[in-house]
Homo-oligomer: 486 residues x 2
C-alpha cells in the first residue's frame, strides 16, 4: 500500500514541477476541456450516478451543470489572472536604508490530496470544486473517490484523462486512487510530498484525517467541510405574516435531496407565539407532502436513523412517532424542544444528516440569544425576518453573524451560489479553519502561498510581476490598485 502511495506522490510531485509553470491561460483551457469532456459523457454519467447514489435524475443533471460551471468559473478566474494578488513596491535608493524592490504574488503550494464527498457525486467529488480550484491554482491533485460511487468517479476521471491528453498537460497532473481503503487515505495524508488535504464529509472522517496530519513530521492543513446544523431564526413579525410560506419553504429545504446537504436547516429557533404553533402544524403537514427517494447509501441511512433517534430520545424533546417503512428511505420529521433543555444539552447541538430538523422554542429574546451562543461554528445562519424584525433584534443578527460563514436573510440555506462572493465555511465543527471557503473562487486560496521576490530584474520576473504588466492584471503598486504598466 504505502509503496503504491509513494509512487503516486512521487508522480504527483514530478507533475507539479511542470504543471505549476503552465500559464493561467493554458490552465483555463485545461479546465474548460475537462468541462467539455464531462458534458460529452453526460448521459452515461447521470445513469451511473443515479444507480450508485439514488439521487433523482433531474438533480444529477443539474449537478453536472454546476460541476462544469465551477470548472469554467475557475477557468475565467485564472485566464483573467488578477487572483494572484500581485503586489509591487518599487525601490527607493535615496531612502536610508535604501528601499529594495519587492514583489509578491500567490504561487501553487505542491501536490494535494482530495477526498470526494458522497452527497455530491459530481460537484464535490472527482472533478468537483476542490479539484477545479486546485487545478486552477496550479497544483497537482491526487483524488481518493468516495467508495459510495466508484463507477461514477472512474467515469469522471476518464474525462479528466482525456483533457490531460488533449491539452498536453503533464501525465500525472491528476491521479485517481482506485484503492478506497482507510489505509490508503491515511498513507495519502501522511506522505511527505502531500502539502494539503481537501475533504467534504462527516465530522468523524474530517477529524481522522486531521489526526493523521498531526502525526506528520511536517504539518499540513486539512481543509475539511464537516458538520453544520445551520440555525434558522424565525422572527416574530415574519412568523405572524408568513407562517404558511415559511412552512412550505422549510419543508422543501429540510427534505431537499433527502436532507443530505451540508446546508440543510437542522435547527429552527423562535420565540413562542400562536403564530409559531400554526407554523409548526403547517410544517409538519408539509413534511408529509414531499416526494421521497432512497438515501445515498445504507451506511448514511443507518447513521441518520441513529442520529435522529439519539436526538429525539433526549430529555424534553417531543416528536411524533415515525413510521419508517424502509430504512434507506426515511420519513422526514420535525421534533421540538424548549430552549432551556436545548441550551443545557450539547447532544442536541449535533447534526443528524438527513430529512430532520429540531425546533427550539424560546421564552424570550434572552433565551434565544443564549441558545445561539451555545452553538458551535456553522456553515450558514439564516434569519427569516421582516425589516421591522431586523431593526428590533440587532443583537440576534450579531450572534448569527458570529456563528457562520454565510448569513442569509429570508431564504433557505440550501442552494449554495457558486460565485466570488460565496463563503462555504465556518468555525469548527463546520470546518477546521473559518479563514477558508470550499465554494466560490475563494476556494483557490487553499492551494497557494505568497512568495516575495526581492531585487529581481525585470527579465527574471514572472509575467504577473513584470513592469509592463503583460497580463493586464490588477495589481497593488506602491499601495495603489492599478491595472496599468509601471
Amino acid at each position: 500500500m504505502s509503496q503504491n502511495i509513494s509512487t503516486v506522490m512521487q508522480q504527483a510531485q514530478e507533475a507539479f514541477e511542470q504543471y505549476r509553470k503552465v500559464s493561467g491561460k493554458n490552465r483555463a483551457i485545461f479546465l474548460e476541456t475537462i468541462a467539455e469532456e464531462i458534458e460529452s459523457l453526460k448521459d452515461a454519467l447521470v445513469a451511473v450516478a443515479h444507480q450508485e447514489s439514488h439521487l433523482p435524475l433531474g438533480r444529477l443533471q443539474g449537478e453536472i451543470g454546476r460541476t462544469t460551471g465551477q470548472l469554467r468559473m475557475f477557468a475565467r478566474l485564472v485566464a483573467e489572472g488578477s487572483w494572484v494578488e500581485a503586489c509591487i513596491d518599487l525601490p527607493n535608493p535615496d531612502r536610508v536604508p535604501p528601499k529594495p524592490d519587492t514583489r509578491k504574488m500567490l504561487v501553487p503550494i505542491g501536490p494535494v490530496a482530495i477526498f470526494g464527498a458522497s452527497n455530491f457525486p459530481f460537484a464535490f467529488s472527482t472533478a468537483g470544486g476542490d479539484t477545479a480550484s486546485a487545478l486552477a491554482a496550479g497544483v497537482s491533485v491526487v483524488i481518493k473517490a468516495h467508495p459510495a460511487h466508484p463507477e461514477t468517479s472512474a467515469l469522471v476521471f476518464s474525462a479528466i484523462e482525456k483533457a490531460i491528453a488533449r491539452c498536453q498537460m503533464p501525465p500525472h497532473t491528476v491521479q485517481h486512487l482506485s484503492d478506497s481503503s482507510i489505509e490508503a487515505g491515511k498513507a495519502l495524508v501522511m506522505h511527505p510530498l502531500t502539502t494539503a488535504v481537501g475533504f467534504t464529509g462527516s465530522q468523524a472522517g474530517g477529524k481522522a484525517l486531521r489526526a493523521y496530519a498531526e502525526q506528520r513530521a511536517v504539518p499540513i492543513p486539512v481543509f475539511a467541510e464537516m458538520s453544520s446544523i445551520n440555525p434558522v431564526v424565525l422572527f416574530p413579525e415574519s412568523l405572524n405574516q408568513n407562517h404558511i410560506n415559511l412552512a412550505k419553504t422549510f419543508a422543501g429545504s429540510i427534505t431537499l435531496g433527502m436532507g443530505q446537504f451540508c446546508t440543510k436547516p437542522g435547527l429552527l429557533l423562535a420565540i413562542d407565539s400562536p403564530a409559531l404553533a400554526l407554523f409548526t402544524e403547517a410544517l409538519e403537514h408539509e413534511l408529509t407532502q414531499v416526494s421521497l427517494h432512497p438515501m445515498l447509501h445504507s451506511g448514511i441511512a443507518q447513521a441518520f436513523d441513529k442520529a435522529r433517534n439519539t436526538l429525539t430520545n433526549q430529555d424534553g424533546v417531543v416528536s411524533k412517532s415515525i413510521e419508517n417503512t424502509e430504512l434507506t428511505q426515511p420519513t422526514p420529521s420535525l421534533a421540538q424542544v424548549q430552549a432551556k433543555d436545548f441550551i443545557s444539552n450539547p447532544t442536541l447541538h449535533e447534526e443528524a444528516f438527513g430529512p430532520f430538523a429540531l425546533l427550539v422554542i424560546c421564552k424570550d429574546t434572552e433565551e434565544l440569544s443564549t441558545a445561539l451562543k451555545a452553538l458551535g461554528g456553522q456553515l450558514t445562519a439564516t434569519l427569516m425576518a421582516t425589516d421591522e424584525d431586523v431593526k428590533q433584534y440587532p443583537a440576534i443578527l450579531d450572534l448569527q453573524s458570529a456563528l457562520a460563514g454565510r448569513v442569509i436573510l429570508n431564504a433557505a440555506p440550501t442552494g449554495v451560489e457558486v460565485a466570488a462572493s460565496m463563503v462555504h465555511g465556518g468555525a469548527y465543527p463546520a470546518t477546521f479553519d473559518a479563514r477558508y471557503t470550499s465554494v466560490g473562487t475563494g476556494a483557490i486560496k487553499r492551494w497557494v502561498r505568497p512568495i516575495c521576490l526581492q531585487g529581481f530584474k525585470d527579465w527574471m520576473l514572472p509575467g504577473e510581476l513584470k513592469n509592463d504588466n503583460p497580463l493586464k492584471i490588477w495589481r497593488l503598486v506602491n499601495d495603489v490598485f492599478t491595472n496599468s504598466s509601471i
Copy 2:
C-alpha cells in the same frame, strides 16, 4: 492561574464585541495614537530596552522607528479600507434558479493571543507587528510579553493604555499578562475564547504552543515564526567577480545584532572553486573585524553555544577553534562541510541562532541541487548571482523559490522591508503554514475570516458592501474590480 486567564479572556471577548464594530478610520486613529505615545516615551524605552536586551542604542532607536512605522502602515491600510476584499455578486431574478444577492468581506475573528519575541523588544513584541496587524483587523489582543524584557514590555503597554483612553476604545481591547510563566501561556492558548495565536521565537516554543492548541476541543491556528537557516547560494561568476564584497556583505549579515535575526544567513552554499577559497578566507577575516555586543540574555547565549558546538562536532565539519572569552558575547565564526556530509546529516540542517554560518562546498550543480532539496522550509532563500549565473542555473532558482517565502537576489536576507509585498513566512519549520506572513500588510490576514451576507437589504449592510460604496474602496463587483458605486 486559569481563573485569572478566564477573567482576561472574558474581558477580551467583551472588548472584541465592541471593538470589531469600530470603523477602519477610527482603528487607524487608534493605531496612530499608539505610535505617538510610543514616540513620546522613546528615550525611556530605548534606555530600558538597552538594559534588558543588550542591543545597541542605535539599533533600538531604529527599531522604535520600525515599530511606529508598522503601526502607521496598518493605520493607512485600514483607513483606506480596500483590504477587506469586498466582493459583490448582484442578483438575477431571471436566472433559473434565481440568482441571489451575495456579498462578501473579511471580518475580525475574535480575541487573539500574542507572544512577544526576545530578539525584537519593540517591533515583534508588545506593540509589534502582530499586535498592530491584529488591532488593524479589529480583534482584541492579549499579550504575553517575553520574560527577557518585562520592563520594556510594561512601558510599551503603558503607551497602548494611554492610546486606548485617548481614543475611547473599549478598555480591554489590549491586555498585558504580567505572569510570564509557561502555565499562563498554556492557559491562554487553551482558553475556549482564544481564536488564534501569534508567536515569534524558537521551534521548541512554537511546537509547544501548537501542541496545546491541538489539545483544545475547538482547534485554532498557531501562527508561529520559528526557525530558518536562510540558505544563500553563491554562484560561480558572482564569486569570481565579487568575492571580497560578498565576504564583507555576509560578515555583516551573519553578525548583525549578534546573529539574532530570524533571517540571518546561517547556510552558505557554493560549487568548489579557487574563488570560493578566496571568499572563505576573506569572510573569516571579516568576521574578526565586526564589533560585538552581548547576546539578548544568558539563555539564548547558552543555546547558541550548544547549537554551534553540536553543528561543528558533526562528521566532516571543519571549523577553527573559537576563543570564547565571554559566553554571553560569543565570537562569530564560520564552519565548512562538504556537501555529501551535509546532505546525509539532518542535524546540519538545524539553526544555530547567533553569529555563525555553515559553508557547504559542493562538487557540482547536481550536488548543490541535492543539498537544497534536503532542506526544510525557510523564511528566505538568497542568490548571489550575475545575470549570466541566473541564466545558466534556472533549476537552482526554482529550488530556492520552492523553499522560501522570500527569494532575494544579490542582497543579504537580514533587513526585512515592511511593505505590502513582503512575505515573512515559509513552510515548516520556518512557520506552521506557508500561507501567511507576519511582516507587511498581509499579516492582517491571520486575524480575519470571510463572511458572506446573502439577501441583505442595503440599509442592513456594512459600509464596505453598500451599493453606493461610501468608503470608496476597491471591490470586485460581478467579477470586475472597481471603486465605483453600483
